[in-house]
Subunit: 225 residues, 2 copies
DNA sequence: GACAAGGTCTCTGTATACATTCGTGCGAAA
DNA sequence: TTTCGCACGAATGTATACAGAGACCTTGTC
């Protein structure tokens, strides 16, 4: 694996997991010392982060972790509605029925576990990831998949901002199961409708969940660490 | 302006304009000699092209201009329908009425010129570009705009593949005027419907127009120039 | 005391040298 | 004759040195 790949993935995780806060300056020398590699692969990693939109190149000040506001959440969900609804339709049209039937079954199994006290979040999250990949594969549209990848990066960052309510988690699992069933049945209309319902609920959950950060807009530009 | 920016834009134009054909290997040394700069900024330019999807990094063989097939055209228009329809709705919701009223008026003026023998393509193309920018601004959604930017890059490449029929050009102008009017009126439903009509006609025009290249899939990987 | 201008300093942008890895071609053996 | 293996070469991946540009601080003047 290349050094630039390692640096890119590490930095990306740091940003998505909020270990690197918005406004943080990512100096080339500083990061190269941190990873023990030279500036060249760091530069490539920072370029990729900038292309992803997770960081922005400030003229003369270097690369800075991008801000995330409530307005961004709205914008992200607007794009997500466009992409996910279309993806759901296309998946319903071209899906392998067994794959999505299995996903629906597994989601309902996890759903029952989520009602207990020991909330097995990891299992659910992994299942959602598998479903995303299954939809990507079913749509058979590399351009749509690429757009989704970029979007999911930002969504993951926003999601990590607030602890999801356990009740909401269970309802989300039920909604995912509904989407999977609709896709398995090949019903485009229902798949899109179920997706739209899921997104509306998800957005509301994010907006009503008490969040920590984005009230204080994080250090504007001066070295935040 | 940075050397890497110049190289990126020049290479991007070369790919979109089909001066660099799919399968063409973009060697770092070769390109650095061509532009008279070192490998470092070339590497950055190639990275950005790869991120755009206009080129692909082949392990051990370097960066290669990406292929475009009929299947890609279908996929591109699927994504375009998702993005453009959503963008049209959002633009209708948040537009500045005067901007789109003016665009509609200008489009109809150009439309009449297009009926004559001297087809003023450039004027029309520039107007469409202005309308794209106006929609981007009206949607007020940077994530949607970023997705659009990437998509339009690929669409521009596909569009350059075939000479657009003059009749089709006039009809496309009329369709654009219709979209602009709907947005100016603030009718989300009509804006989306008009967009959908335009896209369906555009796709059919592309698919029925005789094309040169993609029958012969271009040199697969061996040096194509 | 505040604002502007100049200087310094640190950081990015670029060039180049070196190492590592992958492809390719030739030769030998089955 | 075909296939496997080794060696050579070229291109990428990385490191480092240098130059230029921008930011910040200091000082002087109003």
């Amino acid at each position: 694996m290349r050094a630039s790949d390692r640096a890119y993935e590490a930095l990306r995780e740091d940003i998505v997991e909020w270990r690197l806060l918005p406004g943080q300056v990512l100096g080339e020398v500083e990061q190269s010392e941190r990873f023990g590699i030279s500036r060249t692969p760091i530069r490539e990693a920072l370029s990729r982060l900038t292309a992803d939109g997770l960081a922005e190149a400030h003229r003369g000040r270097g690369v800075v972790v991008s801000q995330v506001s409530l307005e961004d959440v709205r914008a992200l969900f607007e794009l997500r509605e466009a992409l996910d609804c279309r993806a759901a339709r296309l998946a319903a049209r071209r899906r392998d029925p067994v794959t999505f039937q299995d996903l629906a079954t597994e989601l309902e199994a996890v759903l029952h576990q989520l009602h207990g006290p020991g909330t097995d979040r990891t299992g659910y999250y992994e299942l959602v990831e598998r479903m995303d990949r299954a939809i990507d594969e079913a749509t058979a549209n590399p351009y749509l998949t690429a757009a989704q990848r970029s979007l999911r990066l930002h969504l993951a960052r926003v999601r990590k901002l607030s602890r999801t309510n356990p009740d909401r988690l269970a309802r989300a699992a039920a909604e995912h199961a509904q989407i999977a069933r609709a896709i398995a049945e090949g019903s485009e209309e229902l798949a899109e409708a179920a997706t739209r319902v899921h997104l509306a609920n998800s957005l509301q959950a994010v907006l009503t969940t008490p969040v920590r950060e984005w009230v204080q807009p994080a250090p504007p530009l001066e070295a935040a660490g």
